[in-house]
């Protein structure tokens, strides 16, 4: 294209790059958003501080080694002993049972929803599954005690305690299935469809595509879902308080009753302990230990997620 130069009248323009309008709204919004972010951070700090202070004064009276490695937990007795191992073992046994139930079922449900189900059945099934997450845990607790123990388990294991770790663990596993299934399904749905196409184009079956391509590609999200589910199980209180009993027992036998860290806190905290007593402070010490445990879990999960992300993206 050939353009002939056009002579235009010269207009004097004053150039300015200064701000012409005040943007007060920007600052207000920024402040509001910062406050929103700060609330949860400050709350966390507040909790840590308010738990840490009684914990320190608890540990001034009970030596750390007695607390961490003692095998008898009888804080409410006269001359009570403060060995936290029975509570830790109770927590871990019940969580382990829940994980054994929830991981395969949750992952299986996620694979079905993401790879096998038609659009229509997914639209029905996923919200239904997520509904399970909305059931109050107290309902799950009574379901564990009244139905799982007294209708099912007692027929299989006639000698089982009415309050036992198995029923609490099984029901807790069912409770966290939606968390694991839903988040894993999100991770798998986010895998580019090109990867599936590539796998099918090489003559793979649905199963091979799901197991060898989709799950590895979604692994960081799946691991995050697992960890979140396990964290929920460790912190779960109501089901274990109702169904597993309140007797701290150092045992690995799931047919016996056990007390977890959370159910001790709930039971002792709702009792009539006088503030400042050693029993009262023990609640905070157990709480702090629980906080540490879930904190470490979260750190590990963040590490895992980062590592897989580096490899796969």
């Amino acid at each position: 294209m050939s353009a002939s130069p056009i002579s235009a009248p010269v207009i004097e323009v004053e150039y300015s790059l200064r701000q012409t309008r005040s943007r007060a709204g920007e600052k207000v919004i920024r402040g509001v958003l910062l406050a929103a972010a700060a609330v949860s951070v400050l709350t966390t700090i507040g909790i840590v501080v308010s738990v840490l202070i009684p914990t320190i004064s608890f540990l001034a009276e009970v030596p750390v080694t007695d607390f961490l490695f003692g095998t008898v937990w009888t804080p409410l007795f006269a001359n009570g002993q403060f060995g936290v191992l029975p509570l830790i073992s109770g927590t871990l046994v019940i969580t382990a049972i829940a994980v054994v139930v929830a991981l395969p079922l949750g992952l299986g449900a996620a694979v079905y929803l993401s790879e096998y189900a038609s659009d229509r059945s997914r639209r029905v099934l996923k919200p239904t599954l997520e509904l399970l997450a909305g059931i109050p845990t107290v309902v799950f607790g009574f379901f564990a005690l009244e139905f799982v123990t007294q209708v099912l388990l007692i027929r299989i294991f006639p000698g089982i305690d009415i309050f036992n770790a198995l029923s609490a663990g099984l029901v807790m596993g069912v409770m966290i299935i939606p968390t694991i299934a839903s988040l894993s399904e999100d991770a798998m749905a986010a895998v580019p469809s090109g990867l599936r196409d590539g796998s099918y184009a090489l003559g793979s079956t649905k199963r091979q595509t799901a197991v060898k391509v989709v799950i590895p590609a979604a692994l960081s999200g799946i691991v995050a879902a697992f960890v979140l589910g396990i964290s929920r199980a460790i912190g779960e209180t109501m089901i274990v308080t109702i169904a597993a009993g309140l007797e701290p027992r150092l045992t690995l036998n799931p047919l016996e009753g056990m007390q977890t860290m959370t159910s001790y806190i709930a039971a002792a905290g709702s009792g009539d302990l006088s503030t400042g007593s050693i029993e009262y402070k023990s609640i905070f010490a157990v709480g702090f230990l629980l906080f540490l445990l879930t904190f470490i879990m979260n750190m590990v999960s963040i590490r895992l997620v980062r590592r897989y992300r580096q490899v796969y993206q």
């Binding site: 196409d197 090489l202 590609a217 993206q313």
Partner: protein, 284 residues
């Protein structure tokens, strides 16, 4: 993309390229299509395609966007099965067997007819495991190390990656990834390779490498390629099918085959006015 160099490229490649040796008639038929129609629900994407595809040749499908050429390509290995509502009617025969016949296993079809996609879809695995994936899922008994080396060599990638076989395939460049996908494809020993705009996301140098590779592979495999790039069709293909999008009497857009023949004829002496307009850059 500049339109001007097309004419130059064409004359150059048509005198020196593969296209010179192709006979007018298709002998040694691999695929026969008769009145093939592909539809998604009520929408007919491709109508009335009839043509035959020759063994050990490169056949290019060209045409403007929305003419159904990619849809048609995905019918050859039943990838359209994976799209809900997709339906293929008419005849698409592979060595005389109807690919959509009642006792045909789509997984077996895809083993014989491999596919390379527009975006290099390497798996989140090592380079080695990407190539070994197909043989493993198909239980092909072979020395895997040898097979991986052979396929990477055929895909002109071995020298660049032989020391990094355990590294993630994501560490490769786009062009290397696309050659890795080609190596992965030939590792299941297909007879046909479908390529759906294999260079669309690559730079010109990587594109030139893939085109060289395609000419090498055509000695052994039958290749069907969908491309937007007419120069590419002219450079690499033996035969070209030109498709266009048309409106029917009800105003519904659909794809249709306009002209099919040896590439040199399509580009130098097109029979149809629409083909001539398209290759001379007047529309599309």
């Amino acid at each position: 993309m500049a339109d001007e160099p097309i004419e130059l490229q064409l004359t150059h490649d048509l005198t020196s390229g593969r296209a010179q040796q192709v006979s007018d008639e298709v002998n040694n038929v691999v695929f026969t299509l008769q009145d093939l129609r592909v539809s998604y629900g009520d929408y007919q994407a491709v109508r009335q395609v009839s043509l035959t595809i020759a063994k050990s040749e490169i056949t290019a499908f060209i045409g403007p966007s929305g003419c159904g050429k990619s849809t048609l390509l995905r019918s050859f290995n039943r990838m359209n099965d994976l799209i809900p509502g997709a339906k293929v009617e008419g005849l698409l025969a592979y060595h005389g067997i109807d690919i959509y016949g009642p006792d045909v296993d789509p997984i077996e079809v895809r083993r014989k007819i491999g596919m390379v996609f527009q975006k290099p879809n390497v798996f989140p695995k090592s380079i080695y495991d990407n190539v070994a994936y197909g043989p493993r899922v198909n239980h092909i008994k072979a020395n895997m190390d040898d097979l991986v080396e052979e396929c990477l060599t055929k895909a002109a990638l071995w020298d660049e990656v032989k020391d990094d076989l355990k590294k993630s395939a994501y560490a490769l460049s786009g062009g290397q990834q696309q050659r890795l996908v080609i190596a992965r494809c030939i590792a299941v020993r297909p007879e046909v390779i479908l390529m759906d705009e294999p260079c669309a996301s690559l730079d010109p140098i990587a594109t030139a490498k893939i085109e060289d590779l395609m000419r090498q592979l055509a000695l052994e495999y039958t290749i069907l390629i969908v491309t937007h790039n007419m120069q590419q069709a002219a450079r690499v293909s033996d035969r070209t099918a030109f498709f266009t999008a048309e409106l029917d009497d009800n105003g519904v857009r659909h794809g249709r085959l306009v002209e099919y023949g040896p590439t040199r004829q399509i580009f130098s002496a097109p029979q149809d006015k629409r083909t001539e307009d398209y290759i001379s850059g007047r529309f599309g």
